[in-house]
């Protein structure tokens, strides 16, 4: 018997744009920074959870299974089961989805599900040729052999590869994520001007949300050891306009591409948690549910057009629940690239695409921009890949509570050619 699964609370760190060098926090540091105030405001002790699930893509060597490291550092007790999940850009939602299924099936009652990512800590990787040379050198016995091994060195062995760049390149098609957005834009006739206008609005929406205090209770100030504090998403540029963004040069496909640094999501560090509870846990601890998770869906497609993932997963999700696009009142569709978001909207409005790919009777229709990413998104906030899926669910809940809407979908495209979507209702 399926049991209802509630989202009772959640919090995240400010999203911190990667500037020069590693940021102040590792993935687990970030998870601890926003987890501590979240746990402190609960009426139950941190060890009351049944398990901890954390999405994280770029796990650093010091923090293998970051979920467990975070659970212990959060004082959740030695007996806290904790595991890390990874489905690339959907990891933070996969943690919620996994927890949702454990609770729904009656195995767990209270789960902390999150996402954590510190892209600024992505390592520099030595070329394999260099690693092989070093292994030969280190293994050489005797002075003569050592010198002989040392002499084989070539300068190219020390040319580091930026790990992040590799991570953002699809290993099957060898396309960079930005290039997949270019491709989606081309397929649906998205223009540079449209992308820039979308991006500028993302910044303006986030700036407004920050100014109006819409993020209070969601974003928890982070404090670093050197006495600094971080209290807001610092990638926001309120002065961005379509005109200023139009001056930027394309970064992925020069010189004629349309995807620029300004209309792409930012490289960012951040973590996010939501607390999932069964009816039993709600009653036991006297919790106030904010929303209930109704369903979720993962879909997959050609990796070279991964940006359309949300269209596939959200459409399948709505179909199963007998809902139309228009019946969803609030949308969070992760802004990997402005061009990609606009491509998704265009696909839903494309009669042929909807008939042949989604199996609908015709175009699914428009999503009103007023319902979509109401307080900005990854273009203005940044996209810590393992965290974003968690953030959009958390923010969807908070935004719906504020707007007084009932039904919402959070969905994201996933590098590698997948999409994830989650249907929730406020309670």
């Amino acid at each position: 018997m399926a049991r209802p699964v509630f989202i009772v609370d959640g919090s995240r760190t400010p999203f911190l744009k990667a500037r020069s060098g590693p940021g102040p926090f590792t993935p687990v540091d970030l998870a601890v920074q926003c987890g501590r105030p979240l746990l402190a405001r609960q009426p139950f002790a941190p060890d009351a959870f049944d398990q901890v699930i954390l999405g994280c893509v770029n796990v650093i060597a010091d923090e293998m299974n970051p979920a467990r490291v975070a659970a212990l550092r959060l004082g959740m007790g030695e007996q806290m089961v904790a595991f890390t999940v990874q489905i690339n850009c959907g990891s933070g939602m996969q943690s919620i989805d996994t927890g949702y299924r454990y609770i729904r099936e009656g195995i767990s009652d209270l789960i902390l599900a999150g996402g954590a990512e510190a892209l600024s800590h992505a390592p520099l990787v030595w070329p394999n040729s260099g690693v092989r040379w070093f292994a030969g050198f280190a293994g050489a016995k005797g002075l003569g052999a050592k010198i002989a091994a040392a002499l084989k060195v070539k300068p190219s062995y020390f040319k580091p590869i930026i790990g992040l760049e590799r991570g953002l390149t699809d290993p099957i098609t060898e396309l960079n994520m930005g290039q997949t957005a270019e491709k989606v834009g081309h397929l649906f006739g998205i223009t540079r001007a449209q992308s820039d206008a979308y991006a500028a609005e993302s910044h303006q929406r986030l700036a407004k949300a920050q100014k109006e205090g819409f993020l209070k209770g969601e974003v928890e100030t982070a404090f670093s050891r050197d006495g600094k504090f971080y209290d807001h998403d610092d990638g926001v540029r309120p002065d961005s306009t379509a005109e200023t963004l139009a001056k930027l040069r394309p970064v992925f496909e020069r010189p004629w591409g349309q995807v620029t640094a300004g209309n792409s999501s930012q490289i960012t560090d951040g973590a996010s948690w939501v607390i999932l509870a069964s009816e039993t846990a709600v009653a036991k601890h006297g919790l106030t549910p904010k929303a209930v998770i109704l369903d979720s869906q993962w879909s997959a497609l050609d990796p070279s057009i991964m940006g359309l993932g949300p269209v596939l997963s959200a459409s399948a999700l709505l179909k199963r629940n007998g809902l139309t696009l228009q019946e969803v009142e609030t949308w969070e569709l992760n802004e990997a690239f402005a061009t990609q978001v606009l491509g998704c909207l265009a696909a839903w409005n494309d009669d042929k695409f909807c008939r042949e790919i989604l199996g609908l009777d015709g175009a699914a229709g428009e999503i009103d921009r007023a319902k979509l990413n109401v307080d900005g998104g990854a273009i203005s906030l940044g996209h810590p890949v393992g965290t974003s899926g968690n953030r959009i669910v958390l923010h969807l809940v908070n935004a719906m509570k504020r707007l007084g809407t009932r039904r919402g979908v959070a969905t994201e495209c996933i590098g590698g050619g997948q999409g994830g979507a989650m249907l929730i209702e406020t309670v």
Partner: protein
């Protein structure tokens, strides 16, 4: 897990239930190694008292007559090795002669332990202080467990080591370092003890059996006293170093009020290098210090502090402290609590003072904690709380008193 707690210490073979000793357990393992466990009756930490030393004397006699292949000396108490002498026996001493007679008897026991003709090894966990360290120094080898701490805190009681420590410590360890430790009363950890040559090895409980076997059968790599030690213990060098030590001591503790450091420096300057003379002089000097008003007053303060600790320790355990106000005082109280293993929520409406407090805490933990993971864990326990949420689950709430002019 608590279930396994009793198995943590490696104490050799299981002792018979009807031990013939009150304060000790004595067993022999399959290699013929004797395990002598200090286990003072009725208390949770070992201290050296007259009756315990008397019993030790009888044990040494027994070991002399039926010699084992080796001897392990360690504590059966979880709390540590030996915390020092039983300070109760120092209270109210007024007659130097009587003190010297008593300390002479104790010396004889320690000397006999040292003279035992079997390989002896002290295995040390937790605190190993004062008289406890002097027992360890009477063994031929010392193996420290990771958590061991060593020191001679006698100077805090207006005394100096009195059970041969001034002699054996300065012989084994660079005398400048040894004297500094005895003059300041500071404690050191196992790693530092190893680098000084005070212990031969540092290991974990799980390796104690193997380490002991290696020690007894001559396979343990010994810490060697540096070549410099004997040089620094030479007469003319001592004279120069001693005057330097005196001027340093004068800055911290004037001779008029604190005679102990100067007595220790004199002892070393006059007698180092001549073992029996220094041992004898140590007894007399120790007895003289014991009856000074300084020592007796400091001993009284020691007992007051112990009593206060007991009172503080008897209440409910505070696991979560909520500190309101992250200013200089609030922040420092919060850092102190986090250092004491408590969960602390540090509440302030503004981020700036909390950030400042976090930096001060981070700097403090960096100074007082050697391990990066300990620093991290203490900082993790110190939770910034801008919404005052910590108050609902706190066991104790501390609100900073504001200075008010009205």
């Amino acid at each position: 897990m608590d279930l396994l707690a009793d198995r943590v210490l490696e104490l050799g073979p299981k002792p018979a239930a009807d031990s013939s000793y009150r304060n000790f357990k004595l067993t022999r393992d399959e290699d013929g190694i004797a395990w002598l466990l200090f286990d003072r009756a009725g208390v949770s930490a070992n201290t050296l008292s007259a009756d315990l030393l008397e019993e030790l004397d009888a044990i040494v006699t027994a070991l002399e007559s039926e010699r084992p292949t080796g001897l392990v000396v360690r504590s059966a108490k979880k709390s540590g090795f030996i915390a020092g002498a039983d300070v109760n026996e120092f209270r109210g001493a007024s007659e130097p002669g009587a003190v010297e007679t008593a300390i002479g008897r104790a010396h004889a026991v320690i000397d006999r332990l040292e003279a035992l003709r079997v390989p002896s090894v002290a295995v040390i966990h937790g605190f190993c202080l004062g008289g406890g360290l002097e027992v360890a120094l009477a063994c031929q080898m010392r193996i420290a467990i990771d958590d061991a701490r060593f020191g001679f805190p006698e100077v805090m009681l207006g005394l100096h080591p009195g059970l041969g420590g001034t002699v054996r410590f300065t012989e084994l360890v660079n005398p400048m370092q040894a004297m500094t430790l005895m003059l300041t009363g500071k404690t050191i950890d196992a790693r530092r003890a190893k680098s000084l040559g005070l212990v031969d090895a540092v290991t974990q409980e799980r390796h104690v059996r193997n380490a002991v076997r290696d020690a007894v059968f001559g396979r343990l790599k010994r810490a060697k006293p540096g070549a410099l030690n004997s040089l620094l213990n030479l007469g003319p060098v001592r004279g120069f170093l001693a005057s330097r030590m005196r001027s340093e001591a004068e800055k911290a503790a004037p001779r008029k009020h604190y005679p102990a450091p100067y007595a220790l420096i004199d002892l070393w300057e006059k007698h180092a290098g001549n073992r029996s003379a220094m041992l004898n002089a140590e007894k007399a000097s120790f007895a003289n210090l014991m009856v000074t008003p300084t020592a007796q007053n400091l001993i009284r303060v020691f007992f007051l502090r112990e009593q206060m600790k007991k009172v503080a320790g008897s209440g409910n355990k505070v696991a979560h402290v909520h500190v309101i106000g992250a200013g200089a005082m609030g922040g420092d109280i919060a850092a102190w609590c986090a250092n004491q293993d408590m969960r602390v929520t540090l509440a302030d409406m503004k981020a700036e003072p909390i950030a400042g407090a976090m930096k001060r805490a981070s700097d403090l933990f960096g100074k007082i904690m050697r391990k990066k993971t300990d620093q991290r864990d203490a900082l993790d326990r110190l939770i910034p709380d801008m919404d005052g949420d910590g108050v609902r689950n706190a066991d104790l709430i501390i609100e900073r008193c504001r200075k008010s002019s009205s």
